[in-house]
Symmetry: C2
Subunit: 455 residues, 2 copies
């Protein structure tokens, strides 16, 4: 096309990956095993069976490199996958940088984010194994909407505990879940023992993902027909997201470029892992020397400030303990608008590759994240979710560093979702109502002091 610049690098439906990539097959060091919350001994598959279908428990511990994506899952993926890879030429121009900026855009999923990649897989395996209902938590609502949608597709009931601050900030996310037929409750709620315990101690709490997880796990554990579904953190969830990176590698090849820096935002770690794990596999084989950068909110800095320790996945201490970078499972993060990043811990797998020196981590403040988002939307037209703004901020930082150094670096980041249901946060930001948060040192120290002494 003479004169026209290619900015969209698309693959046909046939190029949807046929298998997820499991980086555990290629890591030199194994991950520490999850521990039983009662005995503090390593758990076996039976311990997880009340919560998850067997197929997902197997994926959780698998060391096979490639795990085949079932055809019914790929068939649903075909509605938005392969997702587009864009070259952000107008943003490059606005930044006046010699860097090339690419972004993989997961907001094209009908649920608006990458979360649908694993929601469809989880709903599928549950359907196959006879689950009637799925219970889950959601922060900003991206995960809850995705699971609600996937449940509608597979004819499962869906119960969502939505972190209270997001429940109040984002009524339209809730409406979307309800339109799919899901039942949505603000968390903490009086429906569960875990919720009632938190409310007794903190009646005005914002809630948190850790609390909402406790509620959903409790409900699943009590009802044999209900299983639990988690939107991030666990190995099988991160595995399902690797379609992002697998596609991106093909698309970068189409673009004739290779990334020097790969950036993603991290809350639980799944969109980040989805993009970067296939690249980390290449790094391990010496076929890629890109820097890989996780960007988290300063208000909830598990990777940059949290120790690498065994901790519970939830605030109510119903889940197994996993070894991860954590701020302490009783820590309740400040009510930043990036609700999907308000989690006390980081995926054990992401924590593990940080320990192995395969990735680096940084944090940005809320106001910097929104400033980046506004700069991005004015240049590129797509309004990012507040979570994704952290990745945008990270990418812009890299692009400006490249400018400073006069280097033509290639940056690839994951735009994990759009902000169409997060407009109130942009209104508040533009009205000067949002704030930065200091590192909540004291609260975190207290939460960490309560961790069980394992290893």
């Amino acid at each position: 096309m003479p004169g026209m610049q290619t900015i969209q690098f698309n693959l046909p439906q046939e190029r949807i990956p046929r298998a997820w990539y499991n980086v555990l097959a290629d890591l030199a060091e194994p991950m520490a095993p999850p521990l039983h919350p009662g005995t503090l001994k390593p758990i076996g598959p039976d311990d997880l069976a009340p919560l998850f279908p067997i197929a997902l428990i197997q994926q959780e511990v698998s060391t096979e490199r490639e795990i085949e994506i079932p055809e019914p899952v790929r068939q649903i993926y075909a509605q938005w996958r392969p997702s587009p890879l864009f070259r952000a030429r107008r943003l490059e121009k606005a930044l006046d940088t010699p860097a090339k900026i690419y972004y993989k855009y997961e907001g094209v999923s009908p649920a608006g984010s990458h979360k649908l990649n694993t929601a469809v897989a989880q709903a599928y395996y549950n359907k196959v194994e006879g689950t009637r209902r799925l219970a889950t938590e959601t922060g900003a609502g991206q995960w809850g909407s995705s699971l609600a949608m996937a449940c509608a597709f597979f004819g499962l009931e869906c119960k969502v505990y939505m972190v209270r601050v997001s429940y109040n900030q984002k009524p339209y996310r809730r409406a979307l879940m309800e339109t799919f037929g899901a039942s949505v409750t603000a968390s903490p709620s009086t429906e569960t023992g875990a919720g009632r315990a938190i409310l007794a101690e903190h009646p005005d709490t914002n809630g948190s993902l850790g609390i909402a997880i406790s509620e959903a796990v409790e409900v699943a554990a009590k009802d044999p027909e209900t299983k639990y579904a988690l939107g991030s953190v666990l190995n099988h969830v991160l595995l399902h997201q690797t379609v992002i990176g697998l596609e991106a590698m093909e698309q970068m090849a189409l673009a004739g470029d290779e990334p020097d820096v790969i950036v993603g935002c991290t809350g639980g770690g799944s969109n980040f892992a989805g993009l970067v794990m296939p690249y980390i596999g290449q790094k391990i084989k010496g076929k890629c020397d890109a820097r890989v950068v996780a960007v988290e909110p300063t208000a909830c800095p598990s990777l940059t400030k949290g120790p690498f320790k065994y901790d519970f996945g939830d605030t109510g201490h119903l889940t197994p303990l996993v070894k991860m970078h954590t701020l302490g499972s009783t820590f309740i993060p400040p009510g930043i608008h990036a609700g999907g990043l308000r989690y006390h811990g980081m995926a054990p797998l992401v924590s593990h590759v940080l320990e192995m020196g395969l990735i680096e981590a940084t944090s940005v403040q809320q106001l910097e994240a929104f400033a980046a988002g506004v700069q991005f939307v004015r240049a590129e037209g797509i309004i990012p979710a507040p979570e994704a703004n952290h990745a945008v901020a990270g990418a812009i930082k890299e692009a400006l560093a490249a400018k400073e150094e006069g280097k033509a670096r290639t940056i690839l980041f994951n735009l994990s979702g759009h902000g169409h249901f997060d407009m109130q946060s942009y209104i508040d930001y533009q009205a000067g109502k949002l704030q930065n948060y200091d590192y909540p040192e004291e609260e975190i120290a207290m939460a960490l002091a309560g961790l069980p002494a394992v290893e």
Copy 2:
């Protein structure tokens, strides 16, 4: 791909059309000319020069078959065009119909609807001809967001008069426009003579597109550096939308199918025209025998109930008169949630092809439209804009008729935009707060009685 069904029919960036298709080149009967609002005589280009750049005025009256799309416009189109064509297999299954249902999805544009197709073109031509600022109206906000975005891309200021009922119902649409740097005012406003006149007579009015147009036109007419931009109705706007149908024809060929019925919703007529005009060109040449169906709201039924007469484009009678199906330019439609369809008239070109028997028209009630939307989102995952729900309802009606008749009909419709900014309407619908509206016979009779006696 053995076993897998193709549901996504995509074209590469190179297949973005190089020219818009102008059906006027192929119509046997010419359209009636626009008339000057003062003299009631046919207008010339000079009469429109205060409002529009020359390039658009030329397109308005052009009878060239192909009008080249400027490269900078195609370059921006490349971010989301060619837009996907989907086969709605899960909806077909839910309806248990032998019909095949395809939809062209314009909600992938970063503004969320087809409106960006013309917004980019209009902003471009204005920029080239030295315009500093664009003034416009918007109903539901799809057009306003699109123009705000296009203005941000080309460095133009943007002033939007947003119909009051939508301004109140859809604060997040407003926030999106403001994030792009546009200035947004509820219409009718006290900023203009037209607005003040309406407020004096109807202080509690919902507003309407006709009123908002008057305000924007007034502002443009008074300031030499401000031009006016219209989101629908005019020939050049409909022309820019023909990329939809041109792509759809290629994509239907990829799918190995030809439509028997083509469906679109109509308010001003632009998304409908965008999809169908290229097909109508084929119909005229005897190369297509599809039925073409326009679906409008019963509350604002210009095509199905309005006479084909000369009328003003706006309520304040500042614009030229055009010959169209109209309910009378002083008619203020009921406050249905499909704000983009609340226009008293229908695009003269769409009205003209209805008169020529090339299309048919039907109407649906608000509750039927939302029921169709909810059925669609549960099957397909995409939540349609309330306007697009009318097209969905029309397509479902055709699919159920095919089932009734036991015929394997192929249906193609335009899903013109998503409903991410319209969730309040879904909340209200599901809470039983929305209503149907009787044909507003008396108000329309009054409005029609006030039309000038031309021809």
